[in-house]
């Protein structure tokens, strides 16, 4: 049995879609818990929703590639992925740095408050 889809469906696209939908349920949960405002909820929904739609638009990577001027579509995806990863790592390091400093401040305060003099 073979069903003709209006767009090619690869396992990769299915996995990506499931991932996006799962992430969106997190956004929904946050909105319900009221840690997200309605504005934040809409922004994220638009972002992820746009992502899902984009997965199924044929030739979109080539369009992005032309936009960025990097040749093939695959190259554009790689470039963007690497840049995103760099940014994520940078954010992670910044958070770890801040955390490390906070722990040190705590430890230093404890040291100050419990000074012993022989």
């Amino acid at each position: 049995m073979s069903v003709e889809l209006p767009f090619p469906l690869t396992p990769f696209k299915v996995i990506l879609s499931i991932f996006v939908i799962f992430t969106w349920t997190r956004v929904l949960k946050r909105y319900h818990e009221r840690t997200f405002t309605i504005g934040e909820f809409l922004v994220w929904t638009l972002l992820w929703g746009g992502g899902v739609v984009a997965i199924y638009i044929p030739g979109k990577t080539d369009f992005i590639a032309r936009l960025l001027g990097v040749g093939r579509g695959a190259d554009a995806i790689f470039t963007l992925s690497i840049l995103t990863l760099f940014y994520i790592i940078y954010r992670l390091y910044a958070q770890i740095y801040a955390l490390r400093r906070d722990v040190t401040k705590l430890v230093q305060r404890l040291a100050r408050e419990r000074t012993e003099r022989m």
């Binding site: 740095y97 100050r112 000074t115 022989m118």
Partner: protein
Amino acid sequence: MKIAVVIPAFNEERVIGSVLKQLPRKLPGIETIDMIVVNDGSTDATENIAKTFDVVVLRHVINRGLGATLGTGLAYARDHGYDLVVTFDADGQHDPAELKDVIQPVLQGRAEVVVGTRLKKPDGMPWHRRIGIWAFNLITFVLFGVWTTDSQSGLRVFSRRALEQMEIDFQGMEVSSGLFSEIGRLKLRYVEVPIQAIYTDYSLAKGQRPGNGFSILFRLLWHKFVK
């Protein structure tokens, strides 16, 4: 004239006793010399040994690294009104008799900051340590604009004025080069005094691992450009 000697110590049970015993308690013209041992979360008998001496013991409940340890000790000295502060490693690599020499430039008003440099008579210092230190001397100069012949020395002296102005915000071994960023930023008068480098089997076995250098460099860059 009140002097504080800040002694950062992390698992130094085998040597800290002899360091504390040898450090001078009296020097001509100086009323008080207090020893401030900062135990950086040692898991051995370092603190118990330190407490058998007439010293102040500050304790980090967990290990935070050399920068944090010096930060604790220098803040204590600043808050308790010392006129001059010395940092002195607990691992036996400095000669306690040289304390009186390194404080001279500050006592005479010739300097705000003194570093005891081991590279003027580096006998006994392994060649790979020497290369590492020179590399960091260059890095320190490029990043912070202060030329030093021993950017990694643990024997340092700060005047009261330097102590009050410096912002000490470091965690680990990057503190040694990092302090030069403060010297440069505040334009503190900086003088070097040659000291002995004591490298025993103990300190060689324990000392810096290669590769640490990259983490130090990364943290210095972060401190300079991102923080």
